[in-house]
């Protein structure tokens, strides 16, 4: 287990280093992306631009700038160039909304896709399967910004059932927290439900013909027991793997559109705003957060694998 953790930590450091370096260099390569020009504003003089360049250290070699930026990030002193805030503080304040969105939607899309995928598999080729297939395709095809706008208009404005956006902290008002998140959860889940249910259906249909399933049936186990203990348990392995990576992506700012449409002020919305302003420091920190979340959750998933499939051992 110790070797496993060390290996994961080393992988995480490597991934974060490569991603941070690539992101940093990418922004350096953007034509006319000189942050001093943008910081100085449209009516700045050449002298003012030069002073800003010197003040922020943009006139130093690229490796010095990269090193200083990393040092600032790891000492909690990373400040946005264009917005002036402490980036880690800002991410910290956005994380509750993002985590609420990610885990709430994650539970919804995981459970729903298990039910839908299993139903589609056991009814394969029948009317129910066809209807579920069409619904899954519709779900996959619905962009979150469109679905969000539709839901806000009809369920928020017209029917006045849900708020028109915003986020209320769980500790401030649990009921308001819930009502503000119902539509975002649904919006984010729809796409994943469609995708996950199709993957699960396909995996179940493959697993159904495995020898150990036939053996289980021959032992006289009921259909329900075979389905839950043998077929579903093994079929869930790729789903759990996907789930972990998708949750990590959402935590790392991947729900940009959902957060922006519903104005949740989470990490995704911060990423969107920073990209729009070419504000490199928040973008750097968010991409590193994503890398961290992906590697961390991938490790958690590996442990879950071992639980779901005894043939898998961490030592392997």
């Amino acid at each position: 287990m110790t070797r496993f953790i060390i290996r994961r930590l080393l992988a995480m450091i490597l991934v974060m280093f490569v991603i941070s370096l690539l992101t940093f260099l990418l922004f350096e390569a953007i034509p006319n992306g000189d942050p001093a020009l943008r910081l100085a504003g449209r009516s700045a003089t050449a002298l003012e631009i030069q002073e800003i360049r010197h003040k922020y250290g943009f006139d130093q070699p690229i490796y010095v700038q990269y090193g200083r930026t990393m040092k600032n990030i790891f000492t909690g002193q990373a400040y946005s160039y264009t917005q002036g805030f402490n980036v880690l503080d800002e991410i910290r304040s956005g994380l509750p909304a993002t985590l609420s969105l990610a885990f709430g939607a994650g539970i919804i899309w995981l459970l729903t896709s298990i039910v839908v995928g299993t139903l589609a598999a056991i009814k394969a080729g029948r009317y129910t399967d066809r209807v579920l297939t069409v619904l899954a395709m519709i779900g996959v095809s619905f962009p979150p910004f469109f679905l969000g706008a539709v839901l806000i208009y009809f369920l928020g404005y017209k029917a006045n059932i849900f708020p028109l956006g915003g986020y209320v902290k769980l500790t401030a008002n649990p009921v308001q927290w819930f009502t503000h998140l119902v539509l975002p959860w649904f919006t984010l889940s729809v796409l994943f439900i469609g995708f996950y249910s199709r993957v699960l259906r396909s995996t179940i249909l493959d697993t159904i013909n495995e020898d150990y399933v036939r053996t289980a049936k021959a032992k006289g186990l009921s259909e329900r027991q075979v389905l839950i203990r043998h077929i579903l348990r093994n079929s869930l392995i790729p789903i759990i793997s996907l789930w972990g990576l998708d949750i990590a992506q959402v935590i790392g700012g991947g729900a940009i559109l959902t957060e922006s449409v519903y104005n949740l002020h989470g990490v995704g919305q911060l990423a969107a705003e920073s990209i729009g302003k070419l504000d490199i420091i928040p973008i750097l920190v968010i991409t590193m957060l994503t890398a961290f979340a992906v590697v961390f959750l991938a490790a958690v998933i590996d442990i879950l694998y071992a639980f779901l499939d005894p043939r898998i051992r961490l030592a392997a």
Partner: protein, 563 residues
């Protein structure tokens, strides 16, 4: 220049909402001019209102904030030595004394400005205001640096450049006397708009000792009817009434009626619906009502919504005088003659007011009664005539690159413009640049951009603020603002001469500014395609008639009151 920032992703959200509410149809909204005085209704004090902003202020610290979203609250929390009248229409563009007892006394051929600080002034934290706080405030704006400090401070105040570059410990051009409250400012040369400069919220006084760093989360104390509190970056902030303000009794600057919670929400569709159904109270003036929701507003909220032409911004297409084909006046005339403003207006959801002059309607010198030299802009372009002019110019078939931002409707405007150029005989292609780097890209002189989108929103209501964009002196290697590289001796001479006339005497040279603006239009140096109108939209809770739509700062938050 203050910028109307709108994230590009709003376009996607707006598009989605457009589809959702397509059944409502679409139409242009009514454009109105604001009345020139405030409503006589009796003010009701107390309560809190919610204002929705599509874009966060760049910083609420006056030493840094430069966007419209920053200026709106900062204006009320950081009063300068001068400020603007709290009134609708052109009356609101009038400079009045702020923390100074009177407007500056201008001597030495316009190079020395002298004022006396009012007695009994205190910052919102209770600290007394001293004359030397002004020097400190200016120094802080230079050091942070505030986006306008180069153009309006270091270029104007004597000794400011030496201070900026570290060659001096203070600004030699500013002298103060804390005992008498006397403040004297020496300029490098006469700059008539300096009264306006003193009114910038960035020169609104802050206490000596305030850190020389941007403090967006905890803006410093100021002197004004409001205080900025509860700042959550990019999410919300509050303006609460300053209890110390009333006792200072400064004429012309009223105390506010309500406290204001400002919430940042980038989903403009949701913001519109929230104000429409009264779950929020004020729609920020710098945001644009989605075209798909305009009919609903017209039918359901006609008593609390209108599109107002504040007359302080010009949308135009720059045409490079130093590069083919627009080095030819006939080629430029072809563009101005053939471009259809009604088509551009449709692409902008009907938010443009027609016009052909560089100075917008609220700025002194705008030729309001003079017909446009190349046809009535409201009637659509004359394509046949434009084709003929292109042929005459000998520039037919010249390749043209049209530079454009990604945000809508600016990109759509330039797409239309590109197809129009092809229609009249050029070989045009569109080049789209990310919003964040657009102006730095086209402002790089090495690129020598041929033509593309440009806009200017007044820093203050003075024609010199616009004409510096067309002055030869404004052509710079980087961050160039004179995108068309206009370098006309007549314009240069007039800008130098008229720019020295103090703001308080502008009316005496209005005719000369008008002649200059007519000359610019005849030369077709730029293709103006309209003046931006802004939404004045509130919930039913707000006394709509009493709410002031200010020509410089948009909403005057101190005029909000509950019914």
């Amino acid at each position: 220049m203050r910028r109307y920032n709108k994230p590009a992703r709003i376009a996607a959200i707006a598009l989605a909402a457009s589809i959702v509410v397509a059944a409502c149809g679409s139409s242009s909204s009514k454009t109105t001019s604001t009345p020139s005085s405030t409503s006589p209704s009796t003010a009701k004090n107390g309560g809190t209102v919610t204002l929705l902003m599509g874009t966060a202020p760049d910083s609420l610290d006056p030493g840094m904030g430069y966007t419209t979203q920053a200026a709106e609250p900062d204006w009320l929390a950081y009063t300068g030595l001068t400020t603007y009248a709290h009134a609708n229409g052109s009356a609101g563009g009038q400079v009045i004394p702020g923390l100074a007892t009177a407007l500056p006394a201008i001597t030495d051929g316009g190079k020395t400005y002298s004022v006396t600080l009012r007695k009994g002034l205190v910052f919102s934290n209770g600290k007394p205001v001293k004359a030397s706080d002004f020097t400190y405030t200016v120094e802080r704006a230079i050091k942070i640096p505030w986006g306008g400090s180069g153009q309006f401070i270091t270029a104007q105040i004597a000794g400011a450049t030496a201070y900026s570059t570290g060659k001096a410990k203070t600004i030699s051009g500013i002298t103060t006397n804390d005992a008498t409250g006397q403040i004297t400012i020496h300029l490098n040369s006469a700059y008539g708009a300096f009264d306006n400069v003193l009114a910038f919220p960035s020169l609104g006084l802050v206490p000596t000792g305030t850190p020389f760093t941007n403090e967006p989360n905890n803006p410093p104390p100021g002197v004004g009817p409001y205080m900025i509190t509860n700042v959550v970056p990019n999410a919300s902030f509050s303006l609460v009434r300053n209890p110390k303000w009333t006792s200072m009794n400064i004429p012309g600057i009223p105390a506010g009626h309500v406290d204001i919670n400002a919430k940042i929400s980038s989903n403009i569709d949701a913001n519109t619906l929230s104000v429409l159904n009264n779950s929020a109270d004020i729609f920020d003036w710098a945001d644009t009502i989605p075209g798909s929701l305009l009919p609903q507003l017209k039918s359901q909220a006609s008593d609390r919504f209108s599109q107002v032409d504040l007359g302080g911004s010009t949308y135009y297409i720059f045409m490079n005088q130093k590069a083919k084909p627009f080095s030819s006046q006939l080629a430029r005339e072809a563009v101005v003659t053939g471009l259809s403003q009604p088509a551009m207006n449709r692409l902008g959801s009907g938010t443009l007011a027609y016009g052909c002059y560089f100075l917008p309607p609220a700025i002194i010198g705008h030729p309001s009664g003079t017909p446009c030299p190349y046809g009535d802009p409201a009637s659509g372009g004359n394509i046949a005539k434009a084709k003929q002019l292109v042929t005459q110019s000998g520039m037919a078939g010249t390749p043209v690159t049209v530079w454009s931002e990604t945000r809508q409707p600016r990109q759509a405007w330039m797409t239309y413009y590109t197809s129009f150029l092809n229609q009249i005989g050029f070989k045009a292609t569109q080049k789209v640049i990310a919003d964040a780097t657009f102006f730095t890209t086209i402002g790089n002189l090495k690129l020598n951009p041929q033509t593309g989108f440009a806009d200017w929103n007044q820093d203050f209501p003075n024609p010199v603020d616009f004409y510096l964009l067309l002055s030869g002196a404004a052509i710079l290697p980087t961050n160039n603002q004179n995108f068309g590289q206009v370098d006309d001796p007549f314009i240069n001479a007039q800008v130098n001469k008229l720019g020295a006339v103090p703001t308080s005497q502008l009316s005496s040279v209005a005719g000369q500014w008008q002649a200059l603006d007519e000359y610019t239009a005849k030369k077709a140096y730029v293709a103006v395609f309209g003046y931006q109108t802004f939404p004045k939209f509130t919930s039913t809770r707000i006394n709509y008639g009493a709410a002031i739509f200010h020509p410089v700062y948009g909403w005057d938050w101190s005029s909000f009151q509950l019914k």
